[in-house]
Structure formats: C-alpha cells, structure tokens
C-alpha cells in the first residue's frame, strides 16, 4: 500500500517535472497554439501581434498574458522553461537561443490540415498538454466529419485574402475552402489572389474575400468595375481563420459552409 502511494507520488512528481511550467512563444502562429493549449497563468508571453484580432484568433487570450517582440534579450530576461518558435521567428534569434542553450522547440508553420495535426501534437507534447491537444484535434476531426457527411456544395468560388494571402493550391485558405465544400476554380492564381482577367475566365459563382482591417494594394483590385459585378455574390471570411494553422480551422470551415449556403443563388 505504502509503496503504491510512493509510486503514485513519484509519478506525479516526474509528471510535473516533465511539463515546462512557464512557456513563451515568439512567433504569431505558435502563439495561437500555445494560447489554445496552455492556461494563461503558465504563459510568460506571446508576440504583440497576437493581440490583433485581424489575424489572431486568440486575441482575447493574448490580452491576458505578457507580450514580446521575438527578441533574444526578452527571452533571457524572462527565462521561460520553454520557448516555442516557428520559421517566422528570425533565424538569427533562433540560432542565438540555441547557442545559449535556451530550451526551445521549433515547429513548421502548418499549411495543411495534416501539418496542423502535427504541429498541435508537437507543441502539446512539449508543454505537457497532450490530452488538451487531442481534444482540440478530435473536435476538429468531428467537425470535418460532419461537413463531409453533408453533400458537398460544389459552389464555384474564387478567393483572395488581401495582405498577400491568396487561396493558391496548397495554402491554408485553399484547404479551408475545400473543407467548407466549395470548389476553388482559381487555385493557380498565386499569392494575393487572382487578377481581374483570371477572375473573368474562372467565372466563379461566388467571391470569397478575406476581411482585412488594414487597406492594402489589393483593395484597388476589389474596387475594379469588373470585380464589382460580383457585388452581392460574395462572402467575407475573417483573415484570422486562415492566417495561422490551428485546430480551429474546423470551426472556420463550418462557419464558411453556412455563409456559402446562405449566399448561393437559387
């Protein structure tokens, strides 16, 4: 009996030691996953970018933890138990942190649903939040299964997201469109979306625009008389839904499916 209690105590102790207590994320897209997996009390800071709801799904949670600017000095000052970074963190900063033996994991920026699974599991494992990670992924998979059970809409769409984000083949935006049941008819349009001629040739039923708070060069194209022919035949997706790959892409796809349903002309 006593030895069993001791064994459990030991298990608890090693379990606690294995999970890093204080986590710091230095890239916006790892911020999203860290904020989704780790309670705020255990997060030292995330990047200042994650407080902007335009691109950050977790802006509210980010407001409850500190902010950093992805600098080595900030990491040294706050000495977290674990730093989480992706390829958007400056290579020089990551190299310097490696040199200084700062505990750090680097994940690839997920651009596909499969990569989202991988990144979520990798971070969940490193921060000792495997059950929460599995829960989020299971919810994503359930949402996708529900979406797949519905007959696909097959609505022909062309998308652009503004801010240099388009729905080219292999992008997260493209994955989102497909999951929502739309057919992306301009998947080769490149980053930033199609030009007006391509739009005319593709002749989509609906335009899918990224809601973008900041004006950009692409807004000029949206104001083109030809583009305005799609006025009233477009839906708007928050940029935060495809800016970073997170398990919440299931919810984003569901929301988009509803919008498409409502917008498809009958």
């Amino acid at each position: 009996m006593r030895s069993a209690v001791a064994a459990i105590a030991l298990l608890l102790a090693t379990g606690a030691a294995a999970a890093p207590v204080r986590v710091m994320s230095i890239s916006e897209c790892t911020d999203q996953l860290v904020l989704a997996l780790v309670p705020p009390a255990r997060i030292v800071s995330v990047t200042w970018l994650s407080r902007d709801p335009t691109t950050s799904l977790m802006a509210h949670a980010a407001g409850q933890v500190g902010v950093n600017h992805g600098l080595a000095e900030e990491v040294l000052r706050d000495h977290p138990d674990l730093v989480v970074a992706d390829s958007f963190a400056a290579p020089t900063t990551r190299a310097l942190l490696h040199r200084l033996n700062v505990p750090m994991i680097e994940v690839a920026s997920p651009e596909t649903i499969g990569a989202i699974r991988e990144a979520t599991r990798q971070i969940a494992r490193a921060v000792g939040a495997l059950p929460r990670g599995a829960m989020l992924l299971a919810r994503m998979d359930r949402t996708f299964a529900d979406l797949a059970a519905d007959p696909p809409l097959g609505v022909r769409v062309v998308a652009w997201g503004g801010g240099g984000f388009g729905a080219s083949r292999g992008s997260l935006f493209d994955a989102l469109l497909t999951a929502a049941g739309a057919t992306n008819v301009a998947p080769d349009a490149g980053r930033g979306g199609p030009d007006v001629e391509r739009l005319l040739v593709a002749a989509p039923t609906l335009l899918v625009m990224g809601a973008d708070a900041a004006p950009d060069l692409h807004a000029n194209v949206a104001a083109h008389p030809v583009v305005r022919r799609w006025q009233g035949r477009s839906v708007t997706v928050p940029q935060a839904h495809y800016f970073c790959g997170t398990p919440f892409i299931g919810d984003a796809a569901l929301a988009l499916r509803r919008q498409l349903h409502a917008a498809v002309p009958r």
Partner: protein, 328 residues
C-alpha cells in the same frame, strides 16, 4: 590636426560602444555591466552583456567602420563625391547572394548560409565590375558597377516575385532593411576576419589615392599602378562590405556620408580621410543600432538601414546645401 581628430573619434567610438551596453530590452546599471564582464559564472546580466549585446555592438562598429572606409576609398578612387559601395554593385551582389540563400531554403538549413552566400555575391559583383571595366577608365568602372547593381537588384525583386511563401517574402524584406538584432559571436567570427582583411587592403591604397587626385595620367606618371589600386580597392570593398552586408543586411548611406562628414576637418587629401571616415562610420552605426533598440515603441522596432537613411538623408542634404553656399 589629423592625429587629434583620429584620437577624439576613437574616444567617441569607445564611449558610444560603452554607452550602448546599457540600453535594450533590459536596462543595466554600470555596476551590473562591470559585474557581468568580470564574473566567471553565468548570470542574466552576463548573458545579455556578453552573449547578446557585445557581439551586436562590435558588429555595428565593424560594419560601420568598413562602410565608412570603403566609401572614402571609392570616393578617392573614382574622384566622385557620390561613390559608395552601393554604386559599384557590391551591396547589390551581396543582397542577391543572401536572397538566393533565403529563397532556396539554404537559410533555413543552417543559420550561416545567408552570410556565406552574400559574401560570394559581393565577390562575384566586384569581379564582374573589374572585368567589364578592364581597359576603360574611371567612368567605365562606374557604369559597369551601376549596370551590375541594377541587374542584381532586378534579380532580388524577381526572387521576391517568385518567393514560394509569405514566409520567404517576409524574410527577404526584413533582411533588405538591414538589422543587427540578435547577432551572435558566430556572426562576429564569420564577418570579422573578412572585414579586417578588406580594411587592410583598402588602407594600402591611401598613398596612391593622393596621386590619383591629380588625375589618372598624372598618377601613372608618378609611378602609380592604377590597375593595381583599382584591384585593391574593389577586392577590399567586396571582402569587407560583402561580409558586412552578409551579417547586417544592406545598410546604405553610411559609406556615402561618413567621408563627407570628416572631409572638411582633415582637408581634401584622400588618404587623410580614410581612418577618420572609418571611425565616423563605426560611430554612426553603433549609435543607430542603439537608437533602433531604444526607440522601439509598440511595434517591432525600426530597421537599421531604414533608420540611418531616415536620419542621415536630411542631414546630408543640409551638408550639401551648406557646401554649395560656401563654394558659390
């Protein structure tokens, strides 16, 4: 006069470097810095001072120094007040090398890929300029350099167009703006020897530059081997500025402005400008890097190259106007 100037500039550089150690994300007191520099075990302060700030500040001094020196040599060599490393395509060549490293993912594979590719680009650009201008005069060299510069920048923008992901575009843009953020001793070890070797070659040109001030023919009649001077100046610039651009990105303007700042103080003998211009360049970049660290506000901070041009351009304009008025 010149010796007093050099020692006061050197003193100014030491003060700028020392002052730079205090400021950043964490502000440190002189006592903490002294403790960090002398202590044998690792503390937060020693990590920040020894492993983060010192390499960065030393790089700032090296980068600024070589840019100032190369600017002074090229202005003397080409007898053109607008000459600077950027004019001869060396900065552009280094930029192209770095962008290729970023674009093809070599930068992701190992952190020093960008510097190595950049150095190669700089040497290739200098070699191309020399070959193209072979047999021609100063003007031929300037034109060849300008052509190579345009070509290299066109290729840089082509890479931006073709960049495979927003990530690569972002990386390339940040790099083009110039920065010394989070550079480590690795970067000092990589760029330092090349910068010092480049500086040595450039300093060898001093005497010949004085003779060249009389014109190429007059210099040749004084026994100066113009082709050799040119080779020294270009190869030295490519080594030094290539290595500097490799680790700090493209930092413009310093090479142009540093010689102009000191020229009124030393008289117009080209060789007398070299060392003061190097020290002035070093002071400018050390202070500018300090400013980018202090003036960060809410956003990510300002690019080093952007900051220098932003502050430097109005000042340079004032200098030009003042000189023009004086010579009228």
């Amino acid at each position: 006069m010149s010796r007093a100037l050099v020692s006061s500039l050197a003193a100014g550089l030491v003060v700028a470097i020392a002052g730079s150690l205090f400021a950043g994300v964490v502000w440190l007191s002189p006592a903490t810095i002294a403790g960090a520099l002398s202590s044998t075990h690792t503390t937060l302060a020693s990590l920040i001072v020894v492993d983060v700030r010192l390499p960065r500040i030393l790089l700032a001094a090296l980068v600024g120094g070589i840019l100032g020196l190369a600017g002074a040599v090229l202005q003397g060599l080409l007898r053109n007040p607008l000459a600077e490393p950027g004019l001869l395509g060396i900065t552009a060549g280094a930029s192209l090398g770095a962008v290729v490293a970023i674009y093809y993912g070599a930068a992701a594979a190992f952190a020093l890929a960008t510097p190595l590719f950049a150095l190669t680009g700089a040497l290739a650009a200098a070699a191309a300029a020399l070959v193209l201008a072979r047999g021609g005069g100063t003007l031929a060299l300037i034109l060849a350099g300008a052509a190579i510069s345009s070509l290299a920048y066109a290729a840089v923008y082509l890479a931006l167009d073709l960049a495979p992901s927003p990530y690569a575009t972002y990386e390339i843009l940040t790099w083009l703006m110039g920065s010394l953020a989070d550079r480590s001793w690795h970067h000092v070890a990589l760029a330092g020897p090349f910068i010092l070797a480049g500086a040595a070659l450039l300093l060898l040109t001093g005497r010949s530059l004085d003779a060249l001030a009389l014109g190429e023919r007059a210099a040749a009649s004084l026994g100066i081997d113009v082709a050799r001077v040119r080779l020294l100046a270009l190869f030295g610039t490519a080594l030094g500025v290539g290595a500097a651009t490799a680790v700090a990105g493209s930092v413009g303007f310093v090479g142009l402005i540093a010689p102009h700042l000191v020229r009124p103080l030393v008289g117009h003998r080209p060789s007398a400008v070299l060392v003061p211009a190097a020290l002035t360049g070093a002071i400018i970049v050390v202070l500018a890097d300090l400013a980018t660290r202090v003036l960060r506000g809410s956003a990510q901070g300002i690019g080093l190259g952007v900051f220098i041009s932003l502050v430097g351009a109005p000042f340079f304009l004032w200098l030009v106007l003042r000189t023009a008025r004086r010579t009228e």
